[in-house]
């Protein structure tokens, strides 16, 4: 591996970590800017809901475009970087890497589908039956909430890798493992939305929407910040940075020696 491709890999690693923050800003901005968040209540009348969509048609269309540019794409890049860094710095398990890679991609696809459905919902709102418009909105919220199992798996596998004995905390301190466990546990609330049409456990509810929604965004933000700081510690540190102790032999690990990592490493 040449130093040029090493340099590219390092840059992509840093950019990938930053893309988590970009995703959070763009996806969050897209949902809020489009007016689809805060979510409308499922018990809102279809006519009122269709009127809301018609009044905000172009806001929604532009928001969904932003979601597809920054939301879908950057979640993909960030999740791949997370999987790569977890494998490189926390636990070298190939299987864990594959799981993180796959569930991250599925998360990004969900973002993509939300954007496409939102666009379709607003595109012909004048011609559609209001109940159909509301059904499309139900689909968007259900897509956002009810495929929670892979998201929980994503966060739990990340947590287990960080809490495993092979993690020398060069990038991921152990508290991020517990934080990931917390975020993963909260995904379960999403499942409640299919049973309720109003109140805190409906898809617009203070618990069912905001708890997993906010915790997922917080998880991406916190992990991205940790990844960026960790990258700087590893790549901008002294000329011969301490090596990770575990058995990973990545293609760019030529500079890695078998030197003990100081216990004070970590955010």
């Amino acid at each position: 591996m040449t130093s040029e491709s090493n340099g590219l890999e390092k840059k992509l690693e840093l950019l990938g970590a930053w893309s988590g923050i970009a995703w959070m800003v763009i996806a969050g901005g897209a949902f809020v800017g489009s007016g689809l968040v805060p979510p409308r209540s499922p018990s809102m009348s279809p006519v009122d809901f269709a009127e809301f969509v018609a009044d905000n048609k172009y806001r929604i269309l532009i928001g969904m475009l932003a979601l597809l540019i920054g939301g879908y794409t950057f979640l993909m890049t960030w999740s791949i970087t997370l999987a790569y860094q977890v494998k490189k710095y926390a636990n070298p398990s190939y299987l864990a890497f594959c799981v993180l890679f796959a569930v991250g991609l599925s998360g990004a696809l969900i973002g993509m589908l939300c954007g496409v459905l939102g666009s379709a919902m607003a595109y012909r709102v004048e011609a559609l039956d209001p109940a159909t418009t509301q059904l499309l909105y139900d689909l968007i919220l259900f897509l956002f909430l009810i495929p929670w199992p892979p998201f929980m798996l994503w966060q739990f596998i990340t947590a287990f890798a960080i809490l495993s004995p092979t993690n020398t905390e060069v990038v991921f301190p152990r508290w991020t493992g517990y934080f990931s466990l917390w975020a993963g546990a909260l995904e379960l609330f999403s499942a409640l939305c299919v049973f309720f049409y109003s109140g805190p456990f409906s898809y617009s509810g203070l618990v069912t929407f905001w708890v997993p929604g906010a915790s997922f965004f917080a998880w991406v933000l916190v992990m991205a910040v940790v990844q960026i700081k960790g990258w700087r510690r590893v790549h901008d540190g002294p000329p011969d940075p301490p090596a990770v102790r575990h058995e990973l032999k990545a293609a760019d690990s030529a500079e890695v020696d078998a030197v003990e990592v100081p216990e004070s490493a970590g955010v």
Partner: protein, 209 residues
């Protein structure tokens, strides 16, 4: 009950690492982050419940009659006793009484498992009487909050088994003893959180206002 667990002993008799641990935060710092954040979410749900109850006191009062306090009392006894066993188990581990600690954790597990089993019996009784999470707002909160706590308790049973595994490992080897002891304390802290959350649920749903 092993008297060494119950009686105090002087610092001169205590191993040095036990003395050093007397004033430390038990368990890993990460578990406290988990607990604080988790309790924040429960606090949110408790707050919403209290607000809904204030909006409709007659409905909530009438519906609460279907929740039998005797169940609450049994759950409280089970979980508090279980937590007491965990406290003694951690204390025993610090004094290297791993065999006793391991048995105490088994007791804690058994009491926790009894909690889970009786909870299913209670749910079954309500469901067979036609009371479901969509019956009204009170039961929506009752089922959701107690179910979320129940899931925490089920995870806690797994954590207790992990705790026992660490105790067994320490019993046979001194390898990674500091890390294992930290994980034992961490596991205990999690179980105490389950217990503490139960106390609030008991007060909200099982005590008559």
């Amino acid at each position: 009950m092993n008297p060494q667990l119950m009686a105090g002993i002087t610092d001169a008799e205590r191993p040095r690492d036990v003395v050093n641990r007397r004033r430390h935060l038990p368990g890993e710092s990460g578990i406290w982050i988990f607990i604080l954040l988790d309790m924040l979410i429960f606090a949110e749900m408790f707050g919403i419940f209290v607000w809904y109850r204030a909006e409709n006191p007659e409905l909530f009062g009438a519906s609460q009659q279907a929740v039998k306090p005797v169940y609450g009392l049994i759950y409280t006894l089970l979980l508090l006793t279980s937590s007491w066993c965990v406290v003694l188990a951690v204390r025993g581990a610090r004094r290297r009484l791993f065999d006793v600690s391991s048995k105490l954790v088994l007791w804690a597990f058994g009491l926790g498992a009894a909690f889970v089993a009786i909870k299913f019996v209670e749910y079954g009784a309500k469901l067979s009487n036609g009371i479901t999470p969509v019956t009204n707002d009170f039961f929506m909160f009752y089922f959701v909050l107690t179910l979320v706590h129940l899931l925490h308790a089920c995870v806690g049973l797994g954590v207790l088994m992990y705790m026992r595994k660490q105790l067994k490992a320490l019993q046979h080897s001194r390898e990674a003893s500091e890390r294992r002891m930290r994980m034992i304390e961490t596991s205990g802290v999690y179980w105490h959180m389950v217990d503490l959350l139960w106390v609030v649920l008991f007060a909200l749903f099982y005590l008559r206002g």
